[in-house]
Symmetry: C2
Subunit: 409 residues, 2 copies
């Protein structure tokens, strides 16, 4: 966990443990190399939730979305969140593939459902890879038997590895807490290096939790946690056709007194993986965290934070270790949120650069040194309101341009 | 003029001429080196309109805006657009300078008004330069006498030169047309290299026209022309604290039958300078024009065009001469505009890359060659609607990152 506090956050009861997405009781996973990736790396994964599981999903807001996204959204809506399993294939995004895309998604889930003894409606699919390229169906179907054979409650890491595309590192998390005497675990895995390659860098996240939660409450928790994590990261502002987060919950009933703590754990797990994605941005040399306080409400604070963390000018200034407060304030000013410019205060790390909307004299070398850290925290106060929010991103390097300019040709 | 047609545009009656902002009859300008720029380059300019002029303004939408922007907006509102002159100082933006900023703006305009025999309320001021730095008032005031002395109907170029900051080239335009036997001229000058340096790259535009137009009509024309030009360019999505466009009209009455042609000329003049700004983006190697057709209306077409032209992934692909249709479609998909993905068609130059939402086989080398041109045209059709719009920007190069990372330190 990156240790950054914002205001007086509640002390967390959650501890990091091992096991990833299979850390919670009753969950199984699997990951194999089916041969869909030219590299021969693992490319097919599975997560299976216990009976009685409920599943909440969050999907790309892009108008152009892959067939698998439509399938997931429709099945979750039709079944009231009664999904049991998700199949993930990496290598081909199955987006912009026309009618064939949906047919392939349906066939894949039907074939896995048959092997698991489930109704096809209870099986979801997520694809990630090159846009415009269909799934090589014979290869995927041939991979299902080994995938199901290797399924185990210890295979979280194998699954996390098989969902990667351009990622430099795998991304797993597992948290555990004692909530009123009940041991509760949350697990997660994600892929994505931050929309750097929208051809290949769908953001996918999968979460598991071993308590029973009523669906509408679980959906609300997942939605808020996604807002505070995956929807608060940006590498270059682009959004993929396949972005999906799926979160399963199944187990013993949790006393309602602990629902807030459960949501806090889910948020921490998602923030951990969201930060890992931002840090994994191509060419990135640091994680940027922007904290905004003093707004009307949290939503607008996040909006300002996202605008600052997504500004090319701020990102290049951070890359150049340049404490350029003018760029930060200019980004806040165009965020669409109203504030009094004469109330603005700004910090880079512990160094205050502005007060009452005007620049202060500050130690430029010390502020520049803060920008050399692995995690750079920029904090801005826009007024006296109760709103606060954070967003994460990475610096913009010339390496980013070289990688992306030379991607296809 | 960049010759790019979109649909069946009206044949233009406007011809390019020389003279810049002083091409229209009755306008005078001036530009001098007052000593506010450390480089010693010209840094103080003036544009004087004839009596009876009306002036329409368009200002930055940023919440953080400089004192001079407030002064311009307030004086134009209070006087009903009866402005006669504008003073432009380059070197210091006079933004984030507190109460002193407004006082300095008022003193500067009062001093110029005294020398021109005008009411201070009829004089406006625009500042551009480093944010947080006030105007060196004794230097500016000492420059006013030489500025007024050199004022002439031939000094458009001198003024255009004195308003520059980080621009690599000056930006002037003058158009002339015979509208029903009446010779009409439109002149303009601008500065800006596209928000690359928000510290130094305010976008300013000044226009002159030698016909009388009723204020409310003139304001509407200017507003629409700004939408189709300066509000349709993006270099990196950042917006300055000082962005301002001022347009003056004064002269003989124009028959209402020619108002549409007048607006067309004003739009062409503004588009010419907007494209010049996009082309002048730091590190840019080409001008990108994105054309969007087939939407519900023009406004949403422009919204999609702006999103595509502003996408870091599209910009780096163009820089790498990579005909990456996936990135273009992904950018359209996240623009906030609804469309049927199965209706999308896409061209790079004359080469069609997509039809009915799916990729076509295309000549990759030929498409890549199109991306080597000085102007790259990307065209996307989203449906059968009547809406169309264009936006302009530039590619994103590793040089951009190096310039911006090393700006202050």
């Amino acid at each position: 966990m990156v240790q950054v506090s914002l205001g007086c956050a509640m002390q967390s009861p959650w501890q990091m443990v091992t096991g990833g997405v299979t850390a919670p009781q009753g969950f199984q996973a699997s990951g194999v190399a089916a041969g869909m990736k030219p590299s021969g790396k693992p490319d097919l994964a599975l997560l299976l939730a216990p009976e009685q599981a409920v599943c909440a999903g969050s999907f790309t807001t892009s108008v152009v979305r892959a067939a698998c996204v439509d399938l997931c959204a429709e099945r979750l809506a039709a079944s009231g969140g009664k999904a049991r399993a998700v199949l993930i294939n990496s290598g081909q995004a199955n987006a912009c593939t026309g009618d064939r895309g949906l047919i392939d998604s349906q066939r894949s889930t039907q074939a896995l459902a048959d092997r698991l003894g489930l109704d096809a409606e209870a099986v979801l699919i997520c694809s990630t890879g090159v846009i415009g390229v269909p799934i090589p169906m014979p290869t995927l179907l041939a991979g299902l038997d080994p995938l199901v054979e290797r399924m185990s409650p210890q295979a979280g890491a194998a699954a996390a590895n098989a969902i990667l595309t351009t990622d430099l590192v795998d991304k797993q998390v597992a948290l555990q807490a004692d909530l009123g005497g009940q041991k509760v675990s949350i697990g997660g895995m994600a892929k994505g290096s931050g929309m750097i390659h929208p051809d290949m860098a769908t953001m996918l996240g999968f979460f598991s939790c071993d308590v029973a939660v009523e669906l509408s409450l679980w959906k609300a928790m997942v939605s808020r946690a996604v807002q505070r994590s995956f929807n608060a990261i940006t590498v270059d502002g682009d959004t993929s056709t396949n972005d999906t987060v799926l979160a399963f919950a199944a187990g013993a009933t949790l006393d309602a007194a602990h629902h807030l703590a459960l949501e806090q754990g889910l948020t921490e797990a998602m923030q951990h993986l969201a930060q890992a994605i931002a840090r994994d941005g191509e060419g990135a040399t640091c994680l940027m965290e922007v904290q905004v306080v003093g707004t009307r409400d949290d939503q607008v604070a996040r909006q300002v934070a996202r605008t600052i963390v997504g500004s090319s000018l701020v990102k290049t200034a951070v890359h150049g270790r340049d404490p350029n407060w003018g760029r930060i304030v200019a980004a806040a000013g165009r965020s669409g949120v109203a504030f009094d410019p004469d109330a603005v205060a700004l910090w880079i790390g512990p160094h205050q650069l502005m007060q009452f909307g005007q620049p202060l004299t500050f130690d430029r070398d010390a502020a520049s040194a803060v920008l050399r850290g692995e995690t750079v925290v920029i904090r801005i106060r826009l007024g006296d309101g109760p709103g606060q929010g954070r967003a994460w991103g990475c610096d913009l390097s010339d390496q980013y341009v070289r990688i992306n300019a030379d991607y296809t040709t």
